[in-house]
């Protein structure tokens, strides 16, 4: 089941040693920059850095193969759909039209469209490896404290931790309930009509929801009895201290973000345009 889900993988690397908050802040800056920039030079640098970060984390491909395959398929679908819906998007963005091959109707192939889609592809390569590394190198319990440290109220941050805590239990309940209902004749296979499958799903989900609600009651009582919500602040048992390395990483993150944003917008256009020879 573990290859299915993306989860923390304990290992000894410099990335594992970093404080969760640092990684969080870095990841947010990185993602925002990745979202706003279309400057291909910055994007190439970021994709390369992403690849290096991934290698440094010593994550094996087999440990994340499921999610990677899923994302590759998702990315392909995304690229094809862009072309299907907006075959001239690149022309619109870059203002020139270099036809490489004539196709059917509006579906011609232009160098601008190819370059535009290459940029979209780069975006995936900039963010996905960093996101995976964030998850596999950070202890789940550090997520809540990290969110809290960057300003999210602790009651909200703790909900993240509780979700992670109960996902395996609910998965197990789901498995048990669904098997027991299948024994009573619930059919979920595609052989059956949509209505029948919907009814079958309800027969599994209703007991799951009701038993989970009972669970929530117990948890909230247990938390209250141990003083959760008593004070406006709380401290965290897990979570690494913020070291000089962390400070350095955050600094590098902020500087790179500032540089990237400046470089992207210095001519008032967030796209790098190789076609006009500017």
């Amino acid at each position: 089941m573990s290859s299915f889900m993306l989860a923390y993988i304990p290992r000894k690397t410099p990335l594992h040693a970093l404080c969760g908050t640092t990684k969080f802040v870095f990841f947010i800056l990185w993602s925002v920059l990745a979202m706003i920039t279309y400057d291909t030079r910055i994007m190439l640098i970021m994709a390369a850095v992403s690849a290096v970060v991934f290698v440094v984390s010593r994550t094996r491909f087999s440990e994340i193969s499921f999610i990677v395959k899923f994302l590759v398929v998702f990315m392909m679908v995304n690229l094809v759909t862009i072309y299907l819906f907006e075959p001239e998007q690149g022309v619109l963005v870059y203002g020139t039209r270099t036809v490489l091959a004539e196709g059917f109707g509006r579906y011609t192939l232009t160098a601008e469209q190819l370059f535009y889609e290459f940029n979209v592809l780069l975006k995936y390569n900039m963010v996905v490896p960093v996101a995976i590394v964030l998850i596999v190198t950070t202890q789940p319990s550090e997520f809540a404290s990290s969110l809290n440290r960057i300003g999210v109220p602790y009651t909200v941050a703790y909900a993240v931790s509780l979700t992670l805590r109960y996902i395996p239990d609910i998965q197990r309940d789901f498995r048990d309930i669904s098997r027991a209902q299948q024994a009573r004749g619930v059919e979920l296979s595609r052989k059956n009509s949509f209505r029948k499958r919907l009814k079958g799903a309800a027969a599994i989900l209703l007991p799951l929801i009701f038993s989970s609600l009972a669970r929530i009651d117990t948890i909230s009582q247990a938390m209250e009895l141990r003083g959760f919500g008593k004070h406006r602040k709380r401290t965290w048992y897990s979570g690494k201290p913020f070291t000089r390395t962390d400070a350095a990483v955050v600094c590098i993150g902020v500087l790179f973000f500032a540089f990237g944003a400046w470089f992207t917008f210095r001519d008032g256009n967030r796209f790098y345009n190789p076609f006009t020879g500017r």
């Binding site: 319990s141 931790s161 009573r184 309800a202 799951l208």
Partner: protein, 573 residues
């Protein structure tokens, strides 16, 4: 007890009524508990003992609103207007469900939870958590996630977590409910050691009297219908007919002595089987007077497992969950399947029902290879009843719930109706057929789930912990019902259980799994008197055996069997 000191907990003429209910749950409670005392509160389900516990920790009336009258003081101060947080500084609570109250992602964090909420800095927190973990012998497990801890370990972690704020009162709400017998015994020992070393006031709410009395308590408070009907030292309580009237099971060794004409009395030290005074000659005479047990004839074999193995991990590096298990069940048998958590009991049941596929080995039912049948097809032969009825019930009305399996199988409406009515009749639910399920008690819901399986006409029903969380009266109801099903319809029963009484009294054969291997297959009386198996399977030796040893009886396991037969006849009257 020193009455000069002031009570740390004092109820006087205290009553409580939940807002949602018509009748008060607690009536006129007057109870003083003094610092350093160890008190056991017993009572059947619905007696109000959990409500009383919730009053002590402040969940009543803060989380469960209602009307309070009379006074309740903790540490000399009234609790009126006190929040759960105020009271948590004085009362540490260990709730019933070790899994549900484990809120954090690993053991260390869970111990630290209350400290975190008190804003204790991390550098102070870490050594304190380590100290407390050592106190409950859990120090090596601080990094483990709740999924990797057993029920008993989770309970220890919770206990350590409760000890962090040094509250003078510790409240345990049914600490034995989710533990296997050996772990329960260790839990009582740990609570007793903590009581001795810390001098805290300890309040235990339980209905398993004999198991709690494994270590001494100062007083036993009996609750019935929301009123305190007794508040006495254990020796006195055990010597009076209070317990059986309140639906609390008296210790088995005392029942045996009573039958042998040796009723308990306070001066005989009846609290423990090791201390109780009795005449061995009388017990031996009673034993000799019992008729020899009739030999049971076995029906034809129905379910056969042949060298069945199962492993989660296909690479084969982890030890298998089931390791070459071979066994045969016969028609009309009542068999218990026992073993500690993770021994493979549930996995075995799931493989039989087709929920999991074995790694190797084969299964036959009536000579037919089960591997060729789907989950749905197997359910026509073998029914599976889950532990928690709420996980099975998917319809609001009783009739629809029971009819569900038949409708899914396309049985014509008229035939389905007839079969549902028959199943409801058998389960004593016919008068309720048009009721909503939400109006039923837990035990009745359990019957609905059994009816919904029975309606498919299986030859064997597998029940996962059929009596978990039930008091003696409800437990007896369910088990007598299952037994009558077995004797009238010839239905075979396989019950997964931790409950040694269930094993002894309601099954004729017990199979013991340990680390995925079948290590014993014998009568329950023989198994519960075999120290090797008891230890491997995390069971507990029955006190009847200890009594027989003390009396010097020549066949202690035979005595256990004879007591069970006699006791059942006696209780039927």
């Amino acid at each position: 007890m020193n009455t000069e000191t002031k009570p740390i907990l004092a109820f006087s003429a205290f009553s409580f009524k939940y807002t949602a209910q018509k009748e008060a749950t607690l009536h006129d409670i007057t109870l003083n508990i003094f610092p350093g005392e160890k008190i056991l509160i017993v009572g059947p389900s619905g007696s109000g003992k959990s409500t009383l516990g919730n009053c002590i920790n402040g969940l009543v009336p803060n989380a469960f609103p209602g009307t309070v009258s009379g006074r309740f003081e903790v540490g000399g101060e009234t609790t009126e207007g006190k929040s759960i947080f105020d009271l948590s500084a004085l009362v540490g609570t260990v709730l019933q469900d070790p899994d549900g109250q484990f809120v954090a992602l690993n053991a260390g964090e869970d111990i630290a939870f209350a400290l975190e909420n008190e804003c204790v800095p991390q550098n102070e927190m870490v050594p304190r958590v380590a100290d407390l973990a050592r106190l409950v012998a859990m120090e090596p497990h601080l990094d483990k996630s709740p999924q990797d801890l057993s029920g008993g370990q989770k309970q220890r972690i919770t206990l350590a977590g409760v000890l962090t704020n040094d509250a003078p009162i510790l409240l345990f709400d049914e600490p034995l409910a989710n533990l296997d017998p050996a772990t329960g015994k260790q839990a009582m020992e740990l609570i007793d050691d903590l009581h001795k070393t810390t001098g805290k006031t300890v309040i235990i709410i339980e209905h398993r009297l004999e198991d709690v009395l494994h270590r001494p308590v100062d007083r036993i408070v009996v609750l019935e219908n929301g009123r305190i009907t007794a508040d006495l030292p254990p020796a006195d309580i055990l010597s009076r007919p209070i317990l059986s009237r309140a639906g609390i099971r008296e210790p088995l060794y005392l029942a045996a002595l009573r039958y042998a004409g040796e009723p308990p009395a306070p001066e005989k030290h009846p609290q423990q089987v090791e201390t109780v005074a009795f005449s061995p000659a009388k017990l031996a005479a009673w034993d000799a007077a019992q008729p020899e047990e009739a030999h049971q004839t076995r029906g034809k074999p129905i379910l056969a497992l042949d060298t069945l193995s199962f492993s989660w991990d296909t690479a084969g590096t982890a030890p298998p969950v089931l390791d070459r298990v071979s066994l045969t069940l016969h028609a009309g048998e009542r068999v218990s399947l026992v073993g500690k958590n993770g021994a493979g009991k549930s996995t075995l049941a799931k493989i039989v029902c087709g929920f999991e596929t074995p790694s190797s080995g084969s299964l036959y039912f009536d000579g037919e290879d089960l591997s060729r049948l789907s989950i749905k097809e197997r359910a026509g032969k073998i029914g599976y009843v889950m532990q928690n009825p709420n996980q099975m019930i998917s319809h609001p009305m009783i009739f629809d719930e029971v009819a569900f399996g038949l409708r899914n199988r396309g049985v014509p409406a008229q035939e389905a109706e007839q079969r549902v009515h028959e199943a409801l009749e058998t389960c004593g639910l016919f008068p309720f057929r048009n009721w909503p399920i939400s109006a039923l008690s837990f035990g009745q819901k359990k019957r609905v789930t059994i009816a919904s399986i029975l309606v498919l006409n299986p030859e064997l029903i597998i029940l996962d912990e059929p009596t978990a969380g039930q008091d003696f009266r409800h437990y007896t109801d369910i088990m007598d019902f299952l037994e009558s099903l077995n004797s009238t319809t010839g239905l075979s029963l396989l019950m997964i259980t931790h409950d040694m009484h269930l094993m002894l009294e309601y099954t004729t054969r017990a199979m013991v799994l340990s680390d995925g291997k079948l290590i014993a297959d014998d009568t329950p009386a023989k198994i519960l008197t075999n120290d090797d198996i008891i230890e491997q399977a995390s069971l507990k030796r029955t006190s009847l055996y200890d009594l027989a040893l003390r009396a010097g009886l020549s066949h202690p396991d035979g005595f256990v069997q004879r007591f069970i037969e006699y006791d059942r006849k006696e209780r039927r009257r």
